[in-house]
């Protein structure tokens, strides 16, 4: 499912930022952190105002006509040839992997393929395009990381998060057992099959707690909402945030203050 070979672009002067609906409504701090990290790398960030959602919830539920209508509204937002960076492996995967299939046999097929080819998951972009160097200003801490399944298997960026965290000298990264196993989010799956999803997330939280880390970071807000929501409801001694928040807070001189 992962591209056999990824051809990274040269570091551009501008990028489009596709924030995703979950970041927009629930985790805007993660989006701001991503934007500020990019800007600190000297990249001008263009945030298309008319962005809404990539269409994935309807797509994975089988409602492809409805997904296509929403996805079509996104296709026109990136007229210049700048890379499009997404703070999510899941939405990134939708746009990079599934847009070409969704627009097959339509007048937008070429455009969809062209947009898909410019989609990059943000942490991957920071490491492999920006070649970011992080200077850790935070207190010593221990964290675990949960890489989303789509970041791992669709976007092929599983090794990127640990690389970023590895640059932070005061951060001790610990790995939970079965780190590569799904947290049970799966979009509408969590609602359609609550017991199965609940069993999956409870085991994920247990393995995170077992690492001894009090906090975890993740590449995707869906997983974050799921894992953190379970830990909170069941009063488990672990809480999470988006990896972009974590990186920005630890490397920005003013303690994570956002403009």
């Amino acid at each position: 499912m992962v591209d056999p070979i990824k051809v990274y672009p040269a570091k551009p002067s501008k990028v489009y930022f596709y924030g995703t609906c979950l970041v927009d409504m629930f985790y805007p701090d993660a989006g701001m952190a991503g934007i500020q990290l990019l800007e600190r790398e000297g990249i001008e960030v263009i945030y298309p105002e008319d962005q809404t959602c990539c269409g994935q919830p309807a797509y994975t539920s089988g409602y492809h006509d409805e997904a296509r209508a929403v996805a079509k509204a996104q296709l026109g937002l990136f007229p210049e040839n700048w890379p499009i960076v997404v703070p999510s492996g899941s939405c990134g995967g939708m746009m990079r992997k599934h847009y070409p299939a969704l627009f097959k046999d339509t007048a937008d097929d070429v455009k969809a393929a062209e947009v898909a080819g410019r989609i990059w998951e943000l942490t991957d972009f920071l490491v492999n395009v920006c070649h970011i160097k992080l200077d850790d200003l935070g207190e010593p801490t221990t964290v675990a990381m949960h890489t989303s399944c789509s970041a791992r298997r669709e976007m092929g960026v599983a090794e990127v998060g640990p690389k970023l965290l590895g640059q932070l000298k005061n951060v001790n990264l610990v790995e939970q057992v079965r780190a590569e196993e799904c947290c049970g989010f799966g979009g509408t799956f969590a609602v359609r099959h609550p017991e199965i999803s609940g069993a999956m997330v409870s085991e994920k939280v247990d393995t995170l707690v077992d690492t001894g880390a009090k906090e975890f970071v993740t590449t995707d807000c869906g997983c974050l909402m799921n894992i953190d929501g379970y830990a909170e409801k069941n009063q488990k001694p672990v809480s999470g945030q988006h990896i972009l928040n974590f990186l920005w807070e630890r490397t920005n001189g003013d303690g994570g203050k956002q403009s």
Binding site: M1, D24, M25, S61, E66, A69, E154, V191
Partner: protein, 479 residues
């Protein structure tokens, strides 16, 4: 197909996936048995492929299977011709019932009263044991796992390890109750006893029924992979051997088997090679001392040729039945094989069974996945299982006017309310102004957000809307 519908009457109701899954999740013994077994299988597979260029090997496996499927009609004709030349009688069955009748007719012609069986998932599709019993013919499973499942009057919960849902204690108790062996946790003792009981059955069986892992068209060879030697006994001791197989199991050349076998055993059980690998090329010849007098092959369609007609769904037929997708599936690990209520459980079952039972019966199957992609990642022949799950979800709700659904029973899951919700969702998200207004209002009135959201908040707190959306913050920033 009407015959298949008759057959499904013996099945557990596929539609009742939810209650069975719930029951399994709340059964600590089931959870523990599967977790332990799947963890073991995943780790064995991983070590078995160490030092291999797995991606290249998987590409090779996928290409062999794709090439075979591309030429399937010709290969089947070639296979029939070569098998016939080798003295093997070839039968064609449109569905499970027809296949059962063929087996019965062979048994009746030989006046056979007892059948010994090697492991065969196609015979499970056919519900052959049940059928033969009705015909007054005894059918006994000789694969240890299948034997246990048969004694327990259950169905296999895994395609490779049929009794994986049971631990040693449960098996010991079952063997004690049904066959009078001593209660023991000594696996050697239990196995030896079962072997002893089966040995006599082998000697007296009139017919042996087995499955097939690969059928080689160029040579007319039937390949059978197994660990217990029961497959070899089944196919050589009784005077008549009947192999049942799906029509998709054919490969063009003998050399194709080497790569597929390397992938199959490592993916399935983490073995470099199984204890036995049988290559069956015909009945006993005049100058030979052993082997069956008659060998038959029943080539079973049972919905496969319908799957074959769709360029995307066709990939389903690449499967070599290793079971790695279920071993790595976080859903299968939680609910176990019986929850699915289907012959084939787990990810492969979710993409295969809707074709066999219809999407109306099997409408929940494709939804029972978080689309995590672990199955597709380990599949030795690179079946894009998550993509096929999405395709079947679309078929289940008739969700794509551009690509009309075609699987039997399509559209059965389309509900008026859900369809309206997605229409409304789509309308709002395709209109940026409306979306921004809606999300801004949500942020402003976030205190009114309901604290309970169905299944979500059964296990988690409700997601918390931020005070300002990213859109609003970016707008403020630009001013």
């Amino acid at each position: 197909m009407s015959e298949t519908a008759q057959h499904s009457a013996h099945h557990i109701d596929v539609k009742e996936f939810h209650p069975r899954a719930r029951a399994a999740i709340h059964n600590p013994q089931i959870r523990q048995n599967f977790r332990k077994a799947m963890d073991g299988l995943m780790s064995k597979r991983k070590s078995a492929f160490e030092g291999w260029d797995l991606e290249t090997l998987r590409d090779l496996g996928a290409n062999i299977r794709m090439r075979a499927l591309a030429n399937l009609p010709d290969l089947l004709e070639q296979l029939e011709q070569k098998l016939t030349e080798n003295g093997i009688t070839v039968h064609w069955a449109a569905d499970g019932d027809e296949a059962c009748e063929i087996v019965r007719d062979i048994c009746v012609a030989r006046n056979a009263r007892s059948v010994i069986k090697g492991k065969s998932m196609v015979s499970e599709e056919m519900e052959l044991n049940h059928y033969l019993e009705e015909q007054g013919i005894e059918a006994l499973e000789s694969d240890l796992g299948e034997y246990i499942v048969q004694l327990a009057e259950e169905t296999p919960s895994h395609i490779i390890m049929p009794a994986i849902h049971k631990n040693t204690e449960e098996i010991s108790q079952l063997l004690h109750d049904k066959t009078g062996t001593d209660l023991s946790h000594d696996v050697e003792y239990l196995t030896a006893n079962a072997r002893l009981q089966l040995r006599e059955k082998f000697m007296n069986a009139d017919v042996g029924v087995s499955g097939v892992n690969f059928a080689v068209a160029e040579t007319g060879t039937l390949c059978l992979v197994e660990n217990e030697g029961n497959g070899r006994m089944t196919t050589t001791v009784p005077p008549c051997h009947i192999a049942v197989t799906g029509i998709e199991k054919v490969v063009p050349n003998l050399e194709d088997v080497t790569a597929l076998l390397a992938l199959l055993t490592r993916s399935a059980t983490g073995q470099h090679i199984t204890t036995y690998f049988n290559m069956i090329s015909g009945p006993r010849k005049a100058d030979e001392l052993d082997g069956p007098e008659e060998v038959h092959v029943v080539l079973v369609d049972n919905g496969r040729s319908t799957i074959y007609q769709d360029d995307e769904l066709l990939d389903t037929l690449r499967c070599i039945r290793c079971g790695a997708c279920m071993n790595h599936c976080p859903v299968y690990t939680r609910v176990g094989g019986h929850a699915y209520g289907t012959t084939y459980p787990g990810p492969i079952g979710k993409i295969l069974m809707p074709h066999m039972v219809g999407l109306d019966e099997g409408r929940h199957l494709p939804t029972a996945s978080s689309l995590c992609g672990a199955c597709g990642e380990v599949c030795p022949v690179k079946i894009p299982i998550p993509d096929l799950l999405v395709r079947l979800r679309q078929e289940a709700v008739d969700g794509d006017k551009l690509h009309p659904a075609k699987v039997r029973g399509h559209g059965a899951k389309r509900g008026k309310v859900e369809a309206m919700i997605w229409k409304g969702w789509s309308w709002m998200h395709a209109r940026p102004g409306i979306y921004r207004m809606g999300t801004s209002l949500g942020a402003r009135f976030r205190k009114l957000q309901p604290g309970k959201l169905g299944g979500w908040t059964q296990y988690r707190t409700a997601p918390k809307l931020a005070a300002k959306t990213l859109h609003e913050r970016m707008k403020e920033r630009s001013q």
